[in-house]
Symmetry: C2
Subunit: 431 residues, 2 copies
């Protein structure tokens, strides 16, 4: 049970997340919900100060609620709202707040209608529990699933119980929880954040390189966030004056950008694929691909951008040597002499693709994705990336640093190949 | 500080994980480490009973350690071992266990050597902290990074401090932590688990379908774990008799398999890509691909299998209508009359690929990946998947159920296309 005095030292714009589910604590499923919730809260100035994952166990959930209630006035739970006997969040929360569970007839009607619409003649009995809620609580609708979100307010704590299915949770957060919080949280603090998105330099070296401008950062939090061979530098300021914070952060962004201009592919929500796509659109150019070790992943990356059909028409996946020769016209002598994984082959693959596609630019990738297939001469991780355009053909060589896995090597190669075209198109002497 | 009597009620084979990092609680990075650790522990019979994520804040880490120490005898932390001032796990843990931090000269030499090997003339001063450890602790090496793992044992608690970089953490878990635990944990309980890997049926319908055999499951835990349009059914038993548990679980696996034989693509660590690859190898067949909306993702999936060069030689990414016609010989009339996203086009793409590749089988995918490009006739998520072989050409039509994102539609299509070839090759009348 909650005591009345706990709210004294707790900051109003903080939250604790409780993720329930055996599949999380047993390591079967990765918890993506907490990441989503924390980020959404972050964007409206609410700081998540703890995330607790517990099994589908009443005692564990209760203990987590106790913990959470001592720490923050906003508690968001995920999971445990299903129709099975494992789903105990409703009752655990009701008990914690000292309320009994009541049947909400309106919710029951809504549920019954949902099941009818889904083709059931009768709602399964198990689902009755999804129309229950703690006395005095409110309900936010769940248009993508059966269990509604339950909102309980008690002694300064606001608890939101969300279903565990990511798509349902996201819908409810967007439609109901975030709007509610924006309207009802008294926060003096704003948060302002910008992200610098970097490619082609590792985290440690990056940190070292931009150190000079970081001495004067004051209250700006800096986080280096590596992912998939790319690195984000996230700059965050919390404070009262939004104008002041924006100015400081933008000044720092500029300072960092001046040190590593060529390594920054974008800001905030830019993606490398999107940035390359925009450059191609801008300059009215088309690109084709010739992939060996990436197997199609480069094409997948390019086409992850909606509207990419404006600049990408075709690609070749030439996985075998024969395919390189027959589809792209790579010279058999070249493969014999230098091997499939070579600068020479990368050149001919790119040239061949450009010619046959009649595209302005063509990219090629050939390498050793591993874990087998490496030799002392051509070890796992060795990749040649080619770019062919009207100005000529260039090749970049990539080596892996540690024991990267096959798919990591493929993805890294794909991204670095995209970066080649980015740098090429930004070269004012050429384009 | 720890009291002496806390170990009385705690089960020896349980663990609490503490993940430190502002980037986790702010929702910037998804925490995959806890999932990895929890799964690895699960496989050796150690149950994770709580996962706590905290910011890089001494008070928060201390409070999490207090919490953890009350709950389980094994504590594993991730993050906070870097060289910056944010990295405070070492000192927080030292303080919690009442130990001072000492400089380990052996570790210092190892660190200095690592930096020399990486091309630094001198180790950066910041990294000195990575040679510090709590007095009385031990160190496990980190071959993939700079910070070694620290192991502290105190009053019945065993704490392992791991670096937050996933690749480094995984290496240390595999090389040192798991072997240590296997050797040093006194556990009466064993765990036995099997996974049934399912494709082509949603989670709810799956649960309903296999319900008949589930009535007799006793102590077997069943978890439905959907991921990427595939579903895993994980069956777990904890107990003392390994033989008994294996028997019960295998019996249930058999029962489930008998109900949905065609929907099961594999067990345990089988992947759909790998299963398809094995079938192709077994039957000495080759496959080629003709991709439109997937953009190369199908080829990427096929080549995610090491050794796939034995059965996959080439693929076409025909993103534009022109490419479908010029690379695959699709009849312009067909595209004019039925559209690029049609059964007819899927047929011609598959036939064209097979002919030109001279492969035994060819797969095609053409659809509307969205979010733009949909029409009432051909909505977002509509995909046609073709398969062409010596027995003829078949096409399957796929519609999406909810508001799936572009990449999800692509991946779902790729997997369902792979499933087509799996079912085809399992058809004893044909192969």
């Amino acid at each position: 049970m909650l005591s009345d005095n706990i709210m004294d030292d707790i900051k109003q714009n903080t939250a604790v997340l409780i993720m329930t589910g055996n599949e999380i604590v047993s390591g079967k499923n990765i918890d993506t919900n907490s990441n989503y919730i924390a980020n959404e809260l972050f964007r409206i100035g609410v700081r998540t100060i703890r995330i607790i994952a517990v099994p589908d166990d009443k005692e564990a959930i209760h203990s987590a609620l106790e913990e959470a209630a001592k720490l923050a006035p906003i508690i968001i739970t995920s999971g445990g709202l299903g129709p099975t006997t494992d789903d105990i969040t409703r009752e655990s929360v009701a008990e914690f707040f000292g309320r009994k569970l009541i049947l909400d007839n309106d919710q029951l009607k809504i549920l019954e209608r949902k099941f009818r619409n889904a083709g059931y003649s009768k709602m399964p009995e198990n689902n009755l529990s999804q129309a229950m809620r703690p006395e005095g609580s409110e309900v936010f609708p769940n248009p993508r699933g059966s269990a509604p979100c339950i909102f309980v307010e008690s002694k300064g704590i606001r608890a939101f119980l969300l279903p565990g299915v990511p798509m349902e949770l996201k819908g409810i957060m967007t439609d109901s929880v975030i709007p509610y919080l924006k309207e009802n949280i008294d926060t003096n603090e704003s948060v302002f954040s910008r992200t610098i998105r970097v490619v082609g330099i590792g985290e440690s070296k990056l940190a070292d390189t931009i150190k000079p401008v970081l001495d004067d950062t004051g209250d700006i939090e800096i986080a280096y966030l590596p992912k998939d061979s790319l690195v984000d530098i996230r700059l965050t300021a919390f404070g009262e004056s939004e104008i002041c914070m924006k100015e400081n952060i933008n000044k720092l962004v500029e300072g960092i950008s001046n040190i590593i201009p060529d390594k920054i592919y974008g800001y905030d929500t830019d993606t490398l694929e999107g940035v390359v796509g925009n450059l191609l659109l801008e300059k009215n150019l088309t690109v084709s691909t010739a992939e060996s070790c990436t197997g199609g992943l480069l094409g997948d990356r390019i086409t992850s951008v909606s509207g990419s059909s404006a600049y990408f028409m075709q690609g070749y996946v030439t996985y075998s040597n024969d395919a390189k020769m027959s589809l792209l016209g790579v010279d058999p002598e070249i493969i014999l002499k230098h091997g499939a994984v070579s600068e020479e082959t990368a050149v001919q693959m790119a040239d061949g693709a450009r010619e046959r596609s009649n595209s302005d630019i063509a990219l090629s990738v050939t390498g050793v994705a591993g874990p087998t297939g490496g030799t002392p001469d051509k070890p796992v991780g060795l990749v040649y990336m080619g770019l062919s355009d009207k100005h000529g053909t260039i090749v970049k060589k990539l080596m892996q640093r540690y024991g990267l896995e096959r798919q990591r090597i493929k993805l890294r190669s794909a991204y670095f190949t995209l970066n080649m075209i980015r740098l090429r198109l930004l070269d004012k002497d050429l384009y």
